[in-house]
Amino acid sequence: MKLYIGGKQARPDSGYSIEVRGADGRLLGEAPLGNRKDIRNAVEAARKAEGWAKATAHARAQVLYYIAENLSQRGEEIAGRLAAAVGREQAQAEVRTGIERIFSYAAWADKYDGAVHNPPFRNIAIAMNEPLGTVGIICPAEAPLLGFLSVMMPAIAAGNTAIAVPSEAYPLITGDLYQVFETSDLPDGAVNIVTGRASELLKILAEHDDVDAIWCFGDEASGATAKALSTGNVKQVFTNEGRAIDWFDAKQGEGRWFLHHAHQVKNIWVPYGE
């Protein structure tokens, strides 16, 4: 497995990797040990890809549907590999629910509309839901594939670009997605993936002044770190506050709550009326 930066697979700057073992201790593979330089490259790539925000909502929806379709085609194979880490049953459920989740955000991509307000002046105010920009995401450890999709899809459906640190427990599964992204017309750099020690990469992302927001799904301590280190450029911080989210439950794992955090409202006041 390699890193995924700017649409290309990249060797980590460190030249080192981490062993990834299953619950039974069996060696499952190796993931690159990403460091500050890899994050820096990934942030640069994500910034360059901000044209993604200007793509039409329809186009973004289309790309998400392609991702779902291509993941679906390789579903059996990916579930098979994921099974080594989380067991057969959960692996199949992660792939199945994961595809549904992508569909859900493909659906939302052209429906999370703004609003038009009628203030008591000779104006209307057009409330636009705009993306945040570049988001650094620490993915949940507990559902390596579904967790990644549950946080990445709302971020990119909104038009953000992202740098994700996948589940530390089993980062290898995101490696299987590179090909899926490449065949789905996702612009290079819209999604970047840096594996490694999540706690270290979190600090680098939180302190990086060219990252607009931090999403951190992990234990209480990592949420606190994300908040404390995010003050340089006043990043928006979205965490699970150390609480459990049932990613398999659509009520908890998807929807407006995530979309709300993926957008910021810009109100444009325009003269209107008599």
Binding site: I18, A115, A169, T231, N233, Q252, N267, W269
Partner: protein, 516 residues
């Protein structure tokens, strides 16, 4: 003087608003206020009293209590005790309370406006015609949200006990922006007004008593920054909402990092005011007057950076200078006054310091020959030209009546200059071409963009910033999310499984990558 002569000179006689009702109210309280905790006035536990003064005269208006951790604790306990019963009320019952507040704000609007002007120094025209009507509007609008909450936000519940810290530039309006959405969603609050301007918040406390708002739902604790700090650090507060400087916003983020307090921040700004060559220049100049000289420029979204298209720069600055000479500066209670007093000496000194530094960096300073009042804290309207985009007066928030003017050539350059700031609160764009205006508006990194207008606010429109201007919105549907959480999330168990697995997991070894 004949009528004809008056038309020529356009001189106004004094037209002071009657302050008696506000003064009677102050006297009725013997010009001394405790904290408002659990529905009653409470003397400060340990902090004693400090005085608040009229910045236009320097005269002391009243003594108010200095809140300490003990007062904050009492207020938090009252808010916590009130939370259950307040949430047990129906949305309709809460709506009635908010509606009653709105009605009383209107009933007492003259007293509130005068009090605001005396405590803050802003022209009575602004407090009477803008601040107080918007306060009432905010409570009406949010009475509606209380009524509709269950229908419109199914599955969401209130954060709980909310600590709110507000600035001195729009004292009662900022209170309304904080308290109205919090109450409509079923939270209870502890509000700390700004040290310089606590009086209208205390008048609001009396309104809460007058409408029989359940005890403890609204608590007002006065004091300085240390009082705010005690509120931010209190362990039993579920959310902090802050409006103020970016520097303090950062400190609050750090101080709450170890907690689960939800946080919304409305911070500073250095908002661009962009005028294209095809604008209606006279309208744009009037807009500019409102944009930077409204409330003496002590406005977080003030249009403090004038970006003019090069072709009209000379003509426009001449018009601006002309208009500046007609601005009336003086006693804020006078109804014909455009520019009132600066809130406090420390603020006046900050403005002077920044302008001097800007001039040292090459800016050319122009001020109208209007005489300032002989006493009180005043600063003349100021135009800085020849400002380099990296100059301190182009980058830092001055929070005073100071406009820094720069030029641009193309729309693209306008956007570049406009976004060349760490902030992103507001922007104003002037052009008679709808294409140019909306093309630029789309590219501005700002929470509010006004096309051919400026400084418009409404309860239905979320207000808040991009970037270092903070996060979260106040007003509208988006503003309510700051006071709500998904019910399942509020009660979700701690993430145990993964944490246990992580701690059992040995640190994986690192080794050089092989192959490929």
């Amino acid at each position: 003087m004949s009528i004809v002569e008056k038309f020529v000179s356009m001189e106004y006689g004094p037209a002071p608003e009657d302050p008696r009702e506000a003064l009677t109210w102050l006297d009725r309280h013997e010009r001394r206020f405790g904290h408002f905790i659990n529905g009653a006035w409470q003397p400060p536990v340990a902090g004693g009293y400090f005085s608040t003064a009229d910045p236009s005269t320097g005269e002391k208006l009243a003594a108010v209590a200095q809140g300490t951790a003990a007062d904050i604790d009492a207020a938090v306990r009252a808010a916590r005790a009130a939370l259950g019963p307040w949430q047990a009320l129906s949305g309709h019952a809460r709506a009635r309370h908010l509606y009653a507040i709105a009605r009383l704000v209107q009933k007492h609007s003259r007293r509130l406006a005068v009090l605001e002007t005396m405590d803050n120094g802003k022209p009575i025209r602004e407090s009477r015609d803008i601040d107080i009507p918007l306060v009432a509007r905010h409570f009406y609008h949010h009475a509606g949200w209380a009524q509709l909450l269950e229908q419109e936000f199914p599955g969401f519940v209130a954060c709980g006990v909310v600590g709110q810290i507000i600035p001195w530039n729009f004292p009662l309006l900022m209170l309304a922006w904080k308290i109205a959405p919090a109450l409509s969603t079923g939270n209870t609050v502890i509000l700390k007004p700004a040290e310089f301007t606590p009086l209208t918040a205390l008048a609001f406390a009396e309104i809460c008593q007058e409408i029989n708002l359940p005890r403890g739902v609204v608590n007002i604790v006065t004091g300085d920054g240390s009082t705010g700090e005690a509120l931010v650090k209190h362990a039993d507060v579920d959310k902090i909402a802050f409006t103020g400087s970016t520097e303090v916003g950062r400190a609050i983020r750090k101080a709450t990092a170890q907690s689960h307090k939800k946080l919304s921040l409305e911070l500073g700004g250095k908002s661009p005011f962009i005028i294209f060559e095809d604008s209606d220049l006279d309208s744009a100049v009037e807009g500019l007057v409102d944009g930077i000289w409204f409330n003496q420029g002590q406005v977080c979204c003030a249009g403090s950076r004038l970006l003019m298209q090069e072709s009209i720069a000379e003509k426009l600055t001449a018009k601006v200078r002309d208009r500046m000479t007609t601005l009336r500066i003086g006693a804020p209670l006078d109804k014909a006054i455009d520019i009132g007093a600066i809130v406090a000496r420390v603020q006046l000194e900050r403005i002077e310091r920044l302008v001097n530094q800007g001039v040292a960096e090459g800016a050319i300073c122009w001020q109208p020959p209007t005489a300032l009042p002989s006493r009180g804290l005043y600063y003349p309207p100021t135009l800085l030209t020849n400002v380099h985009p990296t100059s301190i007066v182009a980058q830092q928030e001055i929070f005073g009546p100071v406009l820094a003017a720069m030029t641009f050539r193309t729309p693209r350059e306008a956007v570049e200059f406009a976004n060349n700031t760490a902030y992103g609160l507001a922007a104003s764009v002037w052009s008679e071409s709808i294409n140019v205006a909306l093309h630029v508006a789309a590219q501005l990194k700002a929470g509010v963009v006004w096309v051919n207008s400026t400084n418009l606010f409404d309860a239905s429109c979320g207000f808040g910033g991009y970037r270092e201007s903070g996060y979260g919105r106040e007003g509208g549907r988006e503003g309510l999310f700051e006071y709500l959480e998904p019910a399942w999330f509020k009660h979700a168990p701690a993430l145990k499984r993964a944490a246990r697995r992580a701690s059992k997991m040995p640190t994986p070894p690192c080794r050089p990558l092989t192959g490929r």
